[in-house]
């Protein structure tokens, strides 16, 4: 991993400083970005020593967290209901199939019109993509459960509630966590876009703002910060998933070390 990162930074440096292409010359090289990032007195006002830097991170993290939590709280139950009850799927499935292909940003104007203020609108578009990913993967997870497991639990005297708790939810869990990983990625994607259109703070807002103010190193700092925050949120979900699906790792034995995520 370290080698990969070093090589890409070297390539970046080389492209900016040594290539004859004008296009690359406008970009800041890694050294000037790094100097700005750790400067106590940054040229463009944002570095790890300024409160504003953390304010932007906090705003974006807050929005992503709220959106993700809503997607989790609504998407998982909906996906389970859809996978479990055919009639429910017939109703909700059609609506979902129709809404899902609409790109999240297409919702921004409507969201601003309906919701009070920009803040809920940005959270809403972020929530929307995370919600679809969570719901659909939960649905797939329920569908993937071997029907014999449900029959076996019926034979042993389980009621519908027992089956939901002991078979359907644990059986769908691996797929739910895959969905949450995708949801988290999609949430950041659409959050940044939302912030660019309708926000006064946040990493996405600051990227566009820095471009307008010709503060190129700040763009790169914000992008790199997004990479770090996004990676951390993903790693957190992976960690919780591994803890909750211990049986899977143990059953696969030593092979599970590099479980795809």
């Amino acid at each position: 991993m370290f080698v990969g990162i070093s090589l890409s930074v070297a390539l970046w440096y080389g492209l900016v400083n040594w290539t004859p292409f004008l296009a690359f010359n406008r970009l800041p090289d890694p050294i000037s970005v790094m100097m700005e990032w750790i400067s106590r007195d940054p040229d463009y006002g944002l570095s790890i020593f300024t409160t504003d830097y953390y304010l932007h991170i906090a705003y974006s993290t807050y929005r992503a967290t709220v959106a993700f939590a809503l997607a989790l709280a609504l998407g998982v139950p909906l996906g389970i209901m859809m996978g479990w009850k055919a009639t429910f799927h017939a109703y909700a499935g059609a609506l979902l199939d129709f809404l899902r292909p609409i790109p999240p940003l297409a919702w921004v104007p409507i969201a601003i019109l309906i919701l009070p203020g920009d803040e809920p609108a940005v959270i809403f578009v972020t929530f929307l993509v995370a919600f679809f990913a969570t719901t659909l993967n939960t649905l797939l997870g329920v569908r993937s459960i071997d029907p014999d497991l449900i029959r076996a639990s019926e034979c042993l005297g389980a009621t519908a509630r027992d089956i939901l708790r002991d078979i359907v939810i644990p059986g769908a869990l691996p797929s739910i966590f895959t969905g949450l990983q995708i949801a988290m990625g999609a949430a950041w994607f659409s959050l940044v876009a939302g912030e660019m259109i309708a926000a006064q703070y946040g990493l996405g807002f600051m990227i566009l703002e820095s471009y307008n103010l010709v503060q190129y190193p700040t763009i790169v700092i914000m992008m790199a910060t997004l990479g770090i925050v996004g990676y951390a949120s993903s790693a957190l979900i992976r960690y919780v998933g591994k803890k909750m699906i211990r049986w899977r790792e143990q059953s696969l034995g030593g092979l599970s070390g590099d479980m795809p995520s």
Binding site: D148, A152, C155, L156, G157, D166, P170, W247
Partner: protein, 275 residues
């Protein structure tokens, strides 16, 4: 106490679909499993064996006829008794819950039936795993960590802990190698000897059926009908060495001859139909 677990299958018919696309899975299918007996059903793949077993379990209902358990109607075209722990199925591909440990799997029945408190159920599961299975060291393993032979034994214990009237085994040894299979045969013979539970075993292996069962029914395909009943009068307790005795081989030869005769007749009938 009078032994329970007697099953009667009376004139059963099952048609899937309707019109030109209707599939006759079972037709005039009758057989019986006397209380406490071990009965095997042999037949080619896709002949309707599992359809019959599914109806006994309560997963499906017939289009005609009925199945009775100890005289009470279990399923008929208008009645479908819910699956219950008085007739537990052991599935072809195994159906242990992968997210529960061996001991939690075995304790599952008594726990969800609220017969025992969860801790008592676990105690009982430990007891049966040790005394019947002799496998106490895998108690806390997950199903994915143990061999397929052990998985099948655990699944049988998970059924037995509920003291079912009948065990329904749907080709449980199909994917096993010869050595584990023969171990499983002995295990099943011992269990049947000890618990005297009725057992209904589906298999396509005639030798296996003769070694294990008191009665072997042979089913032919499309539509599935019982064509032949073979009474196996080998003494109990049985063991796998019996497969080498003359009694066993004679019986097996007769059975194979009878099955071939049935197959030949069916084939000729088929030709006539085509002509």
């Amino acid at each position: 106490m009078k032994p329970t677990g007697a099953v009667e299958v009376i004139n059963l018919q099952k048609i899937y679909g309707a019109g030109d696309e209707a599939v006759h899975a079972l037709e005039s299918c009758s057989c019986e499993i006397p209380a406490g007996q071990f009965v095997a059903l042999v037949g080619p793949s896709g002949c309707g064996k599992s359809t019959l077993l599914n109806m006994m379990a309560g997963f499906d209902r017939p289009t005609q006829g009925e199945i009775r358990l100890d005289g009470e109607i279990l399923v008929s075209p208008s009645i479908q008794t819910r699956p219950n722990s008085d007739r537990v199925v052991v599935f072809q591909n195994g159906a242990l819950f992968p997210w529960k440990t061996v001991i939690e799997n075995i304790a599952y029945g008594p726990t969800v039936q609220r017969k025992l408190k969860p801790l008592e159920a676990l105690d009982q599961a430990h007891a049966i795993l040790k005394n019947v299975g002799g496998m106490e060291r895998i108690a806390n393993s997950f199903p994915g960590q143990i061999s397929s032979g052990m998985q099948r034994r655990v699944e049988i214990l998970r059924a037995l802990i509920n003291q079912p009237k009948i065990l329904l085994l749907d080709e449980p040894f199909r994917a096993m190698d010869t050595v584990s299979k023969s171990g499983m045969h002995q295990h099943l013979l011992d269990i049947h000897q000890r618990f005297q539970t009725s057992v209904f075993l589906i298999t396509h292996d005639l030798g296996e059926a003769i070694l294990l069962a008191d009665t072997v029914f042979v089913m032919t395909t499309r539509p599935g009908t019982i064509k032949l009943k073979i009474d196996v009068e080998l003494p109990r307790p049985r063991n796998k060495e019996m497969t080498l005795t003359e009694e066993f081989t004679t019986l097996q030869k007769q059975a194979i001859a009878a099955v071939h005769e049935e197959a030949r007749k069916a084939f000729e009938r088929g030709e006539k139909e085509l002509a």
